[in-house]
């Protein structure tokens, strides 16, 4: 185990957040079983007060989740020198089999937490807490995922040993190695470009259509926005990163966060994750449009979310395309 201060900070933070979630889930179970908005009994009043606590905890949790995601990647990057031939976070994460799973779980939890907060926001605007039970059921799904994150992240850090030989992102993401990272890197570039622009265009189109018509097209938009998120991440590895590094072989998705590239990675990933959460939230609210107390509230929330997602996807595409057109690096002969 490596005693780097940042690692300890992450473990402490993760432990605290997990404990808070377990605490909230305990009350969540009570709410699911005993909630009755029409009752004026003391139990009901007590449960209503408790929902404020859970909301507060979840809001803090999302913020910490975002901060700890950033800290995790940054730490993996900072400790790369401890491992033979690791040049950036990609190498550090590859040291044992828990590194990349930890990243994936953190991403998933972030998306889930964001969605929960959106549902919570809608629920609080209605005068009879219509989504309360569904909301807490979702919480009961998120909690074990957070526990899993704590365990996987902990296993990753505890299993770190100095001087271990790992791979540099150059070989991890190289086109002729094995493993999923290189499968993505090796995807043929032109089809990937087409896929990326096509999915973005479809998402933008369906989003705008949804903003005007506000009907079941929301499902289509939500699905497309998640698909675009996945395609964009693959595109980052497959060809977008090449233009930022100006090297035809450097596919790493992490190096783009470093100072040498003007920290542009943060902007890009912020846009991607932001739009993914907004798109996901729009879809999550779709089933609740019919509920009477929400019928006025949900459509306006969805419109705002869809708009946010559109702006962020647009921003991402513009920055990436700008770089592709105006950089001195020529990949396909244009």
């Amino acid at each position: 185990m490596i005693f780097h201060p940042a690692i300890m900070a992450l473990l402490v933070g993760s432990l605290l957040v997990t404990l808070m979630l377990l605490y909230s889930s305990y009350y969540g179970v009570q709410v699911i079983r005993k909630w009755d908005i029409k009752s004026g009994s003391e139990l009901q009043l007590c449960l209503e007060r408790k929902t404020y606590l859970v909301s507060t905890i979840m809001s803090y949790m999302l913020f910490f989740q975002l901060a700890s995601f950033y800290l995790f990647i940054f730490t993996a990057d900072a400790i790369h020198a401890t491992f033979v031939s690791a040049m950036c976070a990609a190498g550090s994460l590859n040291v044992n089999e828990y590194g990349y799973p930890a990243v994936i779980i953190k991403m998933v939890n972030f998306l889930f937490a964001g969605t929960w907060l959106i549902i919570n926001y809608a629920d609080n605007r209605a005068y009879d807490y219509p989504l309360i039970k569904k909301k807490y059921l979702l919480l009961l799904v998120i909690t074990p995922l957070m526990v899993a994150e704590f365990i996987v992240q902990g296993a990753y850090f505890i299993g770190l040993k100095a001087n271990v030989i790992t791979s540099c992102c150059g070989s991890l993401f190289s086109t002729d190695a094995e493993g999923i990272a290189s499968e993505i890197a090796a995807l043929p570039r032109l089809p990937m470009k087409i896929a990326f622009y096509l999915s973005t265009a479809l998402t933008l189109a369906s989003g705008m259509y949804f903003c005007f018509r506000s009907d079941w097209s929301g499902y289509v938009f939500s699905f497309l926005s998640i698909a675009t998120f996945v395609v964009s991440v693959a595109a980052m590895i497959s060809f977008i990163s090449l233009y930022f590094y100006e090297l035809p072989t450097h596919h790493c998705p992490f190096c783009i966060l470093q100072k040498d590239y003007g920290f542009i990675g943060y902007l890009l990933y912020f846009a991607l994750f932001g739009s993914a959460v907004s798109g996901l939230g729009t879809g999550a609210l779709m089933p609740f449009r019919k509920i009477q107390s929400l019928s006025q509230i949900v459509p306006s929330i969805q419109r705002r979310l869809a708009f946010m997602a559109l702006i962020l996807y647009f921003l991402f595409t513009v920055v990436v395309t700008y770089r592709m057109i105006f950089s001195d690096f020529i990949l396909e002969g244009y």
Binding site: I37, K38, S39, G40, S41, E42, L45, E48, N124, Y127, D128, Y129
Partner: protein, 228 residues
Amino acid sequence: MIELSDIRKVFNSGKPNEFVAIDGITLSVERDKVLVLKGPSGSGKTTLLSVIGCMARPTSGRITLSGKEITSLPERFLTEIRRKSFGFVFQQFNLIKGITAMENVILPAYPTGEGFSVLKKRALSLLELFDLSERAFSKVEWLSGGEAQRVSIARALVNDPSVIIADEPTAHLDTKLSKDFMEIIGKLKVRRKTIIIASHDPIVYESAAVDRVLEMRDGRILSRATRQ
């Protein structure tokens, strides 16, 4: 305007110290009139005031405000209604020490999201109404009893509510100030405010401004005396 239908409020239900504060009250509060609830302490006046004023949810029964049912509204909405429609004057004035009279007056309006300068103007005009303009920027510890009471009334009016609720407002006042208070109540009635007062002070319930007096005991309403 406000309709209560078989309201019960029970504390610590199911436990050995279970206490029924209000035991089945049905009541209708008329607009722009002054209602006084009279009775000894423990009769449930204060609890009834808090139920009417959207401060507490009844254990059972129904309440409607201007035709809209508000019994099982979540706290968020109840508080918004209370803020917009009700103003409270408390027995102990309950001003916050360490800040000025003006700041005390605008405190109930902070959550409405109106700009500070707008609120300040409104507070100053209210304080002028009560002849407190010179004391607007004094800390409340330096105010006399009568001045503090007028500040608390000004505070109750800052969100321009349609109902004023006062709980034993004259308990700490001498005769002159008590009469002054009832005079203010009369003026507010003329400005079309509905007023509900809980008091066992004769100066209050025998005042000419009062339209209706209800006597309470043990969580129930005893007599219904009306006045012209």
